[in-house]
Protein backbone atom coordinates (compact mmCIF):
# COMPACT_ATOMS: atom_id res chain seq x y z
CA UNK A 1 0.00 0.00 0.00
CA UNK A 2 2.96 2.30 0.53
CA UNK A 3 3.76 1.81 -3.11
CA UNK A 4 0.27 2.73 -4.19
CA UNK A 5 0.39 5.90 -2.15
CA UNK A 6 3.70 6.92 -3.64
CA UNK A 7 2.40 6.30 -7.12
CA UNK A 8 -0.39 8.71 -6.42
CA UNK A 9 2.15 11.25 -5.22
CA UNK A 10 4.47 10.72 -8.17
CA UNK A 11 1.49 11.25 -10.35
CA UNK A 12 2.66 11.05 -13.87
CA UNK A 13 2.49 8.17 -16.23
CA UNK A 14 5.00 7.77 -18.97
CA UNK A 15 3.92 7.55 -22.55
CA UNK A 16 6.20 5.72 -24.90
CA UNK A 17 5.84 5.33 -28.63
CA UNK A 18 6.79 2.08 -30.31
CA UNK A 19 10.28 1.70 -31.68
CA UNK A 20 10.48 1.91 -35.42
CA UNK A 21 13.65 0.51 -36.88
CA UNK A 22 14.90 1.17 -40.36
CA UNK A 23 18.16 -0.43 -41.46
CA UNK A 24 19.48 -0.58 -37.92
CA UNK A 25 19.09 3.18 -37.58
CA UNK A 26 17.62 4.22 -34.20
CA UNK A 27 14.18 5.80 -34.17
CA UNK A 28 10.94 6.10 -32.25
CA UNK A 29 10.85 7.23 -28.69
CA UNK A 30 13.31 6.44 -25.93
CA UNK A 31 11.96 6.86 -22.40
CA UNK A 32 14.44 7.33 -19.58
CA UNK A 33 13.51 7.46 -15.91
CA UNK A 34 16.29 9.16 -13.98
CA UNK A 35 17.04 10.52 -10.54
CA UNK A 36 16.50 14.26 -10.23
CA UNK A 37 20.20 14.92 -9.59
CA UNK A 38 20.95 13.68 -13.12
CA UNK A 39 18.71 16.27 -14.78
CA UNK A 40 21.39 18.48 -16.32
CA UNK A 41 23.83 15.76 -17.40
CA UNK A 42 21.20 13.46 -18.85
CA UNK A 43 19.36 16.22 -20.67
CA UNK A 44 22.62 17.12 -22.44
CA UNK A 45 23.36 13.48 -23.26
CA UNK A 46 19.82 13.01 -24.56
CA UNK A 47 20.23 16.02 -26.87
CA UNK A 48 23.47 14.55 -28.14
CA UNK A 49 21.84 11.18 -28.84
CA UNK A 50 18.97 12.86 -30.66
CA UNK A 51 21.31 14.84 -32.89
CA UNK A 52 23.28 11.65 -33.68
CA UNK A 53 20.01 9.88 -34.55
CA UNK A 54 17.57 12.34 -36.10
CA UNK A 55 14.71 9.82 -36.01
CA UNK A 56 14.99 9.37 -32.26
CA UNK A 57 12.99 11.23 -29.65
CA UNK A 58 14.39 11.00 -26.10
CA UNK A 59 11.93 11.61 -23.27
CA UNK A 60 13.01 11.98 -19.64
CA UNK A 61 11.14 11.69 -16.39
CA UNK A 62 13.24 13.11 -13.57
CA UNK A 63 11.98 12.36 -10.07
CA UNK A 64 13.04 11.04 -6.68
CA UNK A 65 14.52 7.57 -6.77
CA UNK A 66 11.72 6.01 -4.72
CA UNK A 67 9.04 7.48 -6.97
CA UNK A 68 10.89 6.11 -10.01
CA UNK A 69 11.17 2.64 -8.47
CA UNK A 70 7.44 2.73 -7.79
CA UNK A 71 6.69 3.70 -11.38
CA UNK A 72 8.79 0.85 -12.73
CA UNK A 73 7.19 -1.61 -10.29
CA UNK A 74 3.77 -0.45 -11.49
CA UNK A 75 4.75 -1.22 -15.09
CA UNK A 76 5.45 2.25 -16.47
CA UNK A 77 6.45 1.77 -20.16
CA UNK A 78 10.05 2.96 -19.90
CA UNK A 79 13.32 1.85 -21.44
CA UNK A 80 16.03 2.90 -18.98
CA UNK A 81 16.08 3.42 -15.23
CA UNK A 82 18.89 5.43 -13.63
CA UNK A 83 18.58 5.64 -9.86
CA UNK A 84 20.44 7.48 -7.11
CA UNK A 85 19.82 4.65 -4.67
CA UNK A 86 21.20 1.15 -5.00
CA UNK A 87 18.75 -0.32 -2.51
CA UNK A 88 15.72 1.10 -4.25
CA UNK A 89 16.94 -0.12 -7.61
CA UNK A 90 17.66 -3.58 -6.18
CA UNK A 91 13.97 -3.81 -5.27
CA UNK A 92 13.07 -3.72 -8.98
CA UNK A 93 16.24 -5.41 -10.31
CA UNK A 94 14.24 -8.41 -11.56
CA UNK A 95 12.51 -6.12 -14.06
CA UNK A 96 15.87 -5.29 -15.67
CA UNK A 97 17.17 -6.83 -18.92
CA UNK A 98 20.60 -7.27 -17.35
CA UNK A 99 22.36 -6.61 -14.07
CA UNK A 100 22.33 -2.99 -12.94
CA UNK A 101 25.72 -1.33 -13.13
CA UNK A 102 27.00 1.63 -11.13
CA UNK A 103 27.99 4.47 -13.48
CA UNK A 104 28.52 7.38 -11.08
CA UNK A 105 29.04 8.17 -7.43
CA UNK A 106 28.15 11.17 -5.39
CA UNK A 107 29.57 12.26 -2.04
CA UNK A 108 28.61 14.82 0.55
CA UNK A 109 30.48 18.11 0.81
CA UNK A 110 29.96 21.19 2.92
CA UNK A 111 28.27 23.96 0.99
CA UNK A 112 28.86 27.52 2.19
CA UNK A 113 27.68 30.84 0.71
CA UNK A 114 30.11 32.47 -1.69
CA UNK A 115 32.95 33.99 0.31
CA UNK A 116 32.31 31.65 3.25
CA UNK A 117 31.27 34.47 5.63
CA UNK A 118 31.20 32.22 8.71
CA UNK A 119 34.69 30.77 8.13
CA UNK A 120 33.59 27.18 7.98
CA UNK A 121 36.60 24.90 7.52
CA UNK A 122 35.44 21.39 8.30
CA UNK A 123 32.82 19.09 9.68
CA UNK A 124 33.49 20.17 13.28
CA UNK A 125 32.06 23.61 12.43
CA UNK A 126 28.73 21.97 11.69
CA UNK A 127 28.64 20.80 15.30
CA UNK A 128 28.99 24.41 16.52
CA UNK A 129 25.68 25.71 17.93
CA UNK A 130 26.86 29.26 17.29
CA UNK A 131 26.58 28.80 13.54
CA UNK A 132 23.38 28.47 11.55
CA UNK A 133 23.42 25.04 9.93
CA UNK A 134 21.03 23.25 7.58
CA UNK A 135 21.04 19.47 7.20
CA UNK A 136 18.69 17.16 5.39
CA UNK A 137 16.14 15.43 7.59
CA UNK A 138 17.17 11.88 8.40
CA UNK A 139 13.99 10.63 6.70
CA UNK A 140 15.36 11.59 3.27
CA UNK A 141 18.48 10.04 1.63
CA UNK A 142 20.83 13.00 1.98
CA UNK A 143 19.96 13.22 5.68
CA UNK A 144 20.58 9.54 6.25
CA UNK A 145 23.93 9.89 4.51
CA UNK A 146 24.79 12.95 6.59
CA UNK A 147 23.99 11.05 9.77
CA UNK A 148 26.45 8.33 8.73
CA UNK A 149 29.13 10.94 8.05
CA UNK A 150 28.73 12.49 11.49
CA UNK A 151 28.74 9.03 13.07
CA UNK A 152 31.96 8.16 11.31
CA UNK A 153 33.47 11.44 12.50
CA UNK A 154 32.21 10.99 16.06
CA UNK A 155 30.51 14.38 15.99
CA UNK A 156 27.04 15.50 17.05
CA UNK A 157 25.75 18.03 14.53
CA UNK A 158 24.00 21.22 15.65
CA UNK A 159 21.51 21.92 12.86
CA UNK A 160 18.99 24.76 12.99
CA UNK A 161 16.79 23.16 10.38
CA UNK A 162 16.27 19.69 8.93
CA UNK A 163 15.37 20.15 5.29
CA UNK A 164 12.95 18.04 3.31
CA UNK A 165 15.42 17.60 0.47
CA UNK A 166 18.89 18.54 -0.59
CA UNK A 167 17.67 21.34 -2.89
CA UNK A 168 15.92 23.07 0.00
CA UNK A 169 19.12 22.91 2.06
CA UNK A 170 21.14 24.31 -0.85
CA UNK A 171 18.64 27.14 -1.44
CA UNK A 172 19.17 28.35 2.12
CA UNK A 173 22.93 28.40 1.53
CA UNK A 174 22.45 30.30 -1.74
CA UNK A 175 20.31 32.88 0.03
CA UNK A 176 22.97 33.22 2.75
CA UNK A 177 20.45 32.36 5.44
CA UNK A 178 22.54 29.50 6.79
CA UNK A 179 26.31 29.39 7.30
CA UNK A 180 26.72 25.88 5.96
CA UNK A 181 24.86 22.79 4.82
CA UNK A 182 25.88 19.25 4.04
CA UNK A 183 24.87 18.52 0.45
CA UNK A 184 25.99 16.46 -2.52
CA UNK A 185 29.01 17.48 -4.54
CA UNK A 186 26.82 17.57 -7.67
CA UNK A 187 24.52 20.13 -6.07
CA UNK A 188 27.43 22.42 -5.33
CA UNK A 189 28.65 22.05 -8.90
CA UNK A 190 25.18 22.87 -10.25
CA UNK A 191 24.80 25.91 -8.00
CA UNK A 192 27.66 27.68 -9.77
CA UNK A 193 29.36 30.66 -8.19
CA UNK A 194 26.76 31.38 -5.50
CA UNK A 195 27.99 28.46 -3.40
CA UNK A 196 31.41 27.12 -2.47
CA UNK A 197 32.10 23.48 -1.68
CA UNK A 198 34.42 22.24 1.06
CA UNK A 199 35.48 18.61 0.81
CA UNK A 200 34.86 16.49 3.86
CA UNK A 201 37.45 13.77 4.49
CA UNK A 202 35.05 11.92 6.79
CA UNK A 203 32.54 11.62 3.92
CA UNK A 204 34.86 9.55 1.71
CA UNK A 205 33.30 6.29 2.88
CA UNK A 206 29.72 7.48 2.63
CA UNK A 207 29.14 7.23 -1.07
CA UNK A 208 25.93 7.35 -3.01
CA UNK A 209 26.12 4.99 -5.97
CA UNK A 210 24.09 5.55 -9.14
CA UNK A 211 23.07 2.30 -10.84
CA UNK A 212 21.66 2.14 -14.33
CA UNK A 213 19.79 -0.60 -16.18
CA UNK A 214 17.80 -1.28 -19.32
CA UNK A 215 14.37 -2.57 -18.48
CA UNK A 216 13.30 -5.99 -19.70
CA UNK A 217 10.00 -4.60 -20.97
CA UNK A 218 11.75 -1.75 -22.82
CA UNK A 219 9.70 -0.80 -25.91
CA UNK A 220 12.87 0.46 -27.59
CA UNK A 221 15.77 -1.76 -26.43
CA UNK A 222 18.24 -0.72 -29.17
CA UNK A 223 17.92 2.95 -28.31
CA UNK A 224 18.12 2.03 -24.62
CA UNK A 225 21.45 0.26 -25.14
CA UNK A 226 22.72 3.20 -27.18
CA UNK A 227 21.88 5.59 -24.34
CA UNK A 228 23.57 3.37 -21.74
CA UNK A 229 26.65 3.16 -23.98
CA UNK A 230 26.70 6.94 -24.32
CA UNK A 231 26.55 7.39 -20.54
CA UNK A 232 29.48 5.01 -20.13
CA UNK A 233 31.50 6.53 -23.00
CA UNK A 234 34.34 9.00 -22.47
CA UNK A 235 32.04 11.85 -23.39
CA UNK A 236 29.46 10.66 -20.88
CA UNK A 237 32.05 10.27 -18.12
CA UNK A 238 33.42 13.73 -18.83
CA UNK A 239 29.94 15.21 -18.55
CA UNK A 240 29.33 13.41 -15.26
CA UNK A 241 32.67 14.53 -13.83
CA UNK A 242 31.93 18.13 -14.85
CA UNK A 243 28.66 17.91 -12.98
CA UNK A 244 30.47 16.93 -9.78
CA UNK A 245 30.04 13.16 -9.87
CA UNK A 246 32.85 10.80 -8.95
CA UNK A 247 33.43 8.00 -11.42
CA UNK A 248 33.79 4.39 -10.30
Amino acid sequence: MAGALLLVLAGCGVDSGQATETDGELGGTLTVLAAASLTDVFTDLGDQLESDHPGLDVQFTFAGSSALATQVAQGAPADVLASADEELLAAVADLGAGDPAVFAENTLVIAVPAGNPADVTGLADLADPGRTIALCATEVPCGAAAARVFDAAGLTPAPDTLEQDVRAALTKVQLGEVDAALVYATDVAAAGSTVEGIDVAEAADVVNRYPLMVLEAAPNPQAAEAFVDLVRSDAGRRALADAGFRLP
Binding site: M1, A2, L5, L6, L9, S66, T132, A134, A137, E139, V140, P159, D160, T161, L162, E163, Q164, A168, T171, K172, L175, G176, E177
Partner: protein, 259 residues
Protein backbone atom coordinates in the same frame (compact mmCIF):
# COMPACT_ATOMS: atom_id res chain seq x y z
CA UNK B 1 -34.47 19.65 -5.28
CA UNK B 2 -33.68 20.17 -8.98
CA UNK B 3 -31.35 17.56 -10.46
CA UNK B 4 -29.04 20.13 -12.15
CA UNK B 5 -28.15 21.30 -8.63
CA UNK B 6 -28.41 18.04 -6.74
CA UNK B 7 -26.21 15.90 -8.98
CA UNK B 8 -23.20 18.26 -9.11
CA UNK B 9 -23.63 18.89 -5.39
CA UNK B 10 -23.41 15.18 -4.64
CA UNK B 11 -20.43 14.82 -6.97
CA UNK B 12 -18.82 17.75 -5.17
CA UNK B 13 -19.32 16.12 -1.80
CA UNK B 14 -17.89 12.85 -3.10
CA UNK B 15 -14.91 14.66 -4.56
CA UNK B 16 -14.15 16.35 -1.26
CA UNK B 17 -14.93 13.48 1.06
CA UNK B 18 -13.63 10.41 -0.79
CA UNK B 19 -9.91 11.20 -0.33
CA UNK B 20 -10.63 11.60 3.36
CA UNK B 21 -12.41 8.25 3.36
CA UNK B 22 -9.36 6.78 1.65
CA UNK B 23 -7.21 7.95 4.54
CA UNK B 24 -9.68 6.53 7.05
CA UNK B 25 -9.91 3.16 5.31
CA UNK B 26 -6.16 2.77 4.87
CA UNK B 27 -5.28 4.02 8.33
CA UNK B 28 -3.53 1.40 10.46
CA UNK B 29 -5.83 1.92 13.43
CA UNK B 30 -3.90 -0.37 15.75
CA UNK B 31 -0.87 1.87 15.34
CA UNK B 32 -2.61 5.03 16.43
CA UNK B 33 -1.66 4.63 20.09
CA UNK B 34 2.04 3.97 19.53
CA UNK B 35 2.25 6.67 16.82
CA UNK B 36 0.73 9.26 19.11
CA UNK B 37 3.10 8.25 21.87
CA UNK B 38 6.08 8.80 19.59
CA UNK B 39 8.31 11.59 20.80
CA UNK B 40 7.76 14.79 18.88
CA UNK B 41 4.21 14.16 17.72
CA UNK B 42 2.58 15.96 20.65
CA UNK B 43 5.15 18.70 20.31
CA UNK B 44 4.44 19.15 16.61
CA UNK B 45 0.70 19.21 17.28
CA UNK B 46 1.04 21.77 20.04
CA UNK B 47 3.31 23.92 17.88
CA UNK B 48 0.84 23.70 14.99
CA UNK B 49 -2.10 24.83 17.10
CA UNK B 50 -0.17 27.62 18.80
CA UNK B 51 1.39 28.99 15.62
CA UNK B 52 -1.84 28.77 13.59
CA UNK B 53 -3.67 30.63 16.36
CA UNK B 54 -0.97 33.30 16.59
CA UNK B 55 -0.95 33.64 12.79
CA UNK B 56 -4.73 34.14 12.88
CA UNK B 57 -4.34 36.77 15.59
CA UNK B 58 -1.73 38.60 13.50
CA UNK B 59 -4.01 38.34 10.47
CA UNK B 60 -6.95 39.77 12.41
CA UNK B 61 -4.95 42.72 13.72
CA UNK B 62 -3.55 43.59 10.28
CA UNK B 63 -6.14 42.06 7.96
CA UNK B 64 -9.38 43.55 9.27
CA UNK B 65 -8.15 47.15 8.90
CA UNK B 66 -6.76 46.26 5.47
CA UNK B 67 -10.15 44.85 4.44
CA UNK B 68 -11.76 48.07 5.68
CA UNK B 69 -9.41 50.17 3.56
CA UNK B 70 -10.21 48.01 0.52
CA UNK B 71 -13.96 48.13 1.07
CA UNK B 72 -14.55 51.63 2.39
CA UNK B 73 -11.78 54.07 1.64
CA UNK B 74 -11.73 56.29 -1.43
CA UNK B 75 -8.05 55.50 -1.89
CA UNK B 76 -6.84 55.63 -5.48
CA UNK B 77 -5.30 52.38 -6.70
CA UNK B 78 -7.49 50.26 -4.47
CA UNK B 79 -7.94 47.64 -7.17
CA UNK B 80 -4.19 47.35 -7.52
CA UNK B 81 -3.91 47.02 -3.76
CA UNK B 82 -6.56 44.30 -3.77
CA UNK B 83 -4.68 42.39 -6.46
CA UNK B 84 -1.48 42.67 -4.43
CA UNK B 85 -3.22 41.33 -1.33
CA UNK B 86 -4.21 38.19 -3.20
CA UNK B 87 -0.66 37.53 -4.41
CA UNK B 88 0.06 35.03 -1.61
CA UNK B 89 -2.95 33.05 -2.83
CA UNK B 90 -1.49 32.45 -6.27
CA UNK B 91 2.16 32.37 -5.28
CA UNK B 92 3.46 28.83 -4.75
CA UNK B 93 4.05 28.78 -0.97
CA UNK B 94 7.68 27.76 -1.39
CA UNK B 95 8.25 30.87 -3.49
CA UNK B 96 6.47 32.81 -0.75
CA UNK B 97 8.97 31.39 1.71
CA UNK B 98 11.90 32.49 -0.45
CA UNK B 99 10.32 35.93 -0.80
CA UNK B 100 10.08 36.15 2.99
CA UNK B 101 13.80 35.34 3.18
CA UNK B 102 14.53 38.17 0.79
CA UNK B 103 12.78 40.62 3.09
CA UNK B 104 13.05 39.19 6.58
CA UNK B 105 16.01 36.81 6.32
CA UNK B 106 19.31 37.82 7.87
CA UNK B 107 20.44 38.85 4.37
CA UNK B 108 17.04 40.39 3.66
CA UNK B 109 16.09 44.02 3.18
CA UNK B 110 14.58 44.42 6.64
CA UNK B 111 15.95 41.31 8.32
CA UNK B 112 19.53 42.21 7.39
CA UNK B 113 19.22 45.52 9.16
CA UNK B 114 17.68 43.79 12.19
CA UNK B 115 20.49 41.23 12.23
CA UNK B 116 23.16 43.93 12.04
CA UNK B 117 21.55 45.91 14.84
CA UNK B 118 20.61 43.15 17.27
CA UNK B 119 22.20 39.91 16.11
CA UNK B 120 18.72 38.44 15.96
CA UNK B 121 17.79 36.49 12.89
CA UNK B 122 14.20 35.54 12.24
CA UNK B 123 14.44 32.38 10.10
CA UNK B 124 14.41 29.03 11.89
CA UNK B 125 12.48 30.42 14.87
CA UNK B 126 8.87 29.84 15.95
CA UNK B 127 8.20 33.50 15.10
CA UNK B 128 9.19 32.66 11.52
CA UNK B 129 6.57 29.88 11.50
CA UNK B 130 3.91 32.38 12.56
CA UNK B 131 5.05 34.89 9.93
CA UNK B 132 5.09 32.30 7.14
CA UNK B 133 1.63 31.04 8.09
CA UNK B 134 0.21 34.56 8.38
CA UNK B 135 1.68 35.48 4.99
CA UNK B 136 -0.10 32.62 3.29
CA UNK B 137 -3.32 32.65 5.32
CA UNK B 138 -4.09 36.36 5.78
CA UNK B 139 -5.52 36.88 2.26
CA UNK B 140 -8.31 34.43 3.11
CA UNK B 141 -9.28 36.61 6.06
CA UNK B 142 -8.94 39.87 4.14
CA UNK B 143 -11.11 38.64 1.28
CA UNK B 144 -13.82 37.29 3.61
CA UNK B 145 -13.96 40.45 5.67
CA UNK B 146 -13.89 42.71 2.61
CA UNK B 147 -16.81 40.74 1.18
CA UNK B 148 -18.72 41.09 4.44
CA UNK B 149 -18.01 44.83 4.54
CA UNK B 150 -19.23 45.30 0.98
CA UNK B 151 -22.38 43.33 1.76
CA UNK B 152 -23.02 45.31 4.95
CA UNK B 153 -25.27 48.36 4.57
CA UNK B 154 -22.93 51.36 4.68
CA UNK B 155 -25.87 53.59 5.62
CA UNK B 156 -25.58 52.25 9.18
CA UNK B 157 -22.25 54.03 9.21
CA UNK B 158 -23.98 57.20 7.98
CA UNK B 159 -26.48 56.84 10.80
CA UNK B 160 -23.64 56.49 13.31
CA UNK B 161 -21.95 59.61 11.91
CA UNK B 162 -25.14 61.66 12.36
CA UNK B 163 -25.13 60.46 15.97
CA UNK B 164 -21.71 61.99 16.59
CA UNK B 165 -19.52 58.94 16.01
CA UNK B 166 -16.20 59.59 14.27
CA UNK B 167 -14.97 56.96 11.82
CA UNK B 168 -12.95 55.04 14.41
CA UNK B 169 -15.88 54.89 16.85
CA UNK B 170 -18.18 53.94 13.99
CA UNK B 171 -15.82 51.16 12.99
CA UNK B 172 -15.58 49.77 16.53
CA UNK B 173 -19.17 50.13 17.62
CA UNK B 174 -21.13 49.67 14.39
CA UNK B 175 -19.15 48.29 11.46
CA UNK B 176 -17.24 45.58 13.28
CA UNK B 177 -20.27 44.13 15.10
CA UNK B 178 -22.22 44.17 11.84
CA UNK B 179 -19.59 42.16 9.98
CA UNK B 180 -18.70 39.93 12.94
CA UNK B 181 -19.99 36.77 11.22
CA UNK B 182 -17.82 37.53 8.20
CA UNK B 183 -14.81 38.17 10.42
CA UNK B 184 -15.43 34.88 12.21
CA UNK B 185 -15.74 32.99 8.92
CA UNK B 186 -12.56 34.63 7.65
CA UNK B 187 -10.71 33.80 10.86
CA UNK B 188 -11.75 30.15 10.56
CA UNK B 189 -10.55 29.98 6.95
CA UNK B 190 -7.35 31.72 7.93
CA UNK B 191 -6.75 29.41 10.88
CA UNK B 192 -7.41 26.29 8.82
CA UNK B 193 -5.09 27.46 6.06
CA UNK B 194 -2.39 28.31 8.60
CA UNK B 195 -2.77 24.92 10.26
CA UNK B 196 -2.18 23.10 7.00
CA UNK B 197 0.60 25.43 5.80
CA UNK B 198 3.67 23.59 4.55
CA UNK B 199 5.65 25.20 1.75
CA UNK B 200 6.28 28.68 3.07
CA UNK B 201 6.88 27.37 6.57
CA UNK B 202 9.48 24.75 5.68
CA UNK B 203 11.22 27.24 3.41
CA UNK B 204 11.29 30.29 5.65
CA UNK B 205 11.21 28.72 9.12
CA UNK B 206 12.93 25.47 8.28
CA UNK B 207 12.15 22.26 10.09
CA UNK B 208 13.35 21.56 13.61
CA UNK B 209 11.41 19.55 16.17
CA UNK B 210 10.12 21.70 19.01
CA UNK B 211 10.78 25.09 17.41
CA UNK B 212 9.60 24.98 13.81
CA UNK B 213 8.36 21.48 13.00
CA UNK B 214 4.58 21.75 12.67
CA UNK B 215 2.35 18.78 11.93
CA UNK B 216 2.31 19.17 8.13
CA UNK B 217 6.13 19.15 8.13
CA UNK B 218 6.19 16.10 10.40
CA UNK B 219 3.66 14.38 8.16
CA UNK B 220 5.66 15.11 5.02
CA UNK B 221 8.95 13.83 6.42
CA UNK B 222 7.31 10.76 7.92
CA UNK B 223 5.85 10.06 4.50
CA UNK B 224 9.41 9.66 3.14
CA UNK B 225 10.07 6.59 5.26
CA UNK B 226 6.79 5.38 6.73
CA UNK B 227 3.65 6.26 4.77
CA UNK B 228 1.36 4.42 7.20
CA UNK B 229 2.61 6.48 10.11
CA UNK B 230 2.12 9.59 7.96
CA UNK B 231 -1.54 8.67 7.48
CA UNK B 232 -1.96 8.36 11.22
CA UNK B 233 -0.41 11.76 11.78
CA UNK B 234 -2.59 13.33 9.07
CA UNK B 235 -5.69 11.95 10.72
CA UNK B 236 -4.60 13.31 14.09
CA UNK B 237 -4.16 16.77 12.56
CA UNK B 238 -7.50 16.47 10.80
CA UNK B 239 -9.31 15.28 13.93
CA UNK B 240 -7.93 18.03 16.11
CA UNK B 241 -8.72 20.77 13.59
CA UNK B 242 -12.27 19.50 12.97
CA UNK B 243 -12.91 19.23 16.70
CA UNK B 244 -11.65 22.76 17.26
CA UNK B 245 -13.79 24.21 14.47
CA UNK B 246 -16.91 22.38 15.65
CA UNK B 247 -16.38 23.59 19.20
CA UNK B 248 -15.92 27.18 18.06
CA UNK B 249 -18.92 26.96 15.75
CA UNK B 250 -21.14 25.91 18.64
CA UNK B 251 -19.94 28.86 20.66
CA UNK B 252 -20.53 31.27 17.79
CA UNK B 253 -23.91 29.85 16.97
CA UNK B 254 -24.82 30.10 20.65
CA UNK B 255 -23.98 33.78 20.60
CA UNK B 256 -25.34 34.42 17.11
CA UNK B 257 -28.78 33.12 18.09
CA UNK B 258 -29.54 36.38 19.94
CA UNK B 259 -29.95 38.20 16.64
Amino acid sequence: MPAPLLVPALLGVAFLVLPLLGLLVRAPWSEIGPQLARPGVGEALRLSLVSATLATAVSLVLGVPLAWVLARSQLRGRSVLRALVTVPLVLPPVVGGVALFLVLGRQGIVGGWLYEATGFSLPFTTAAVVIAEAFVAMPFLVISVEGALRAADARFEDAAATLGADRWTTFRRVTLPLVAPGVAAGAVLCWARALGEFGATITFAGNFPGTTQTMPLAVYLTLQRDPEAAIVLSLVLLGVSLATLLLLRDRWLGRGAVR
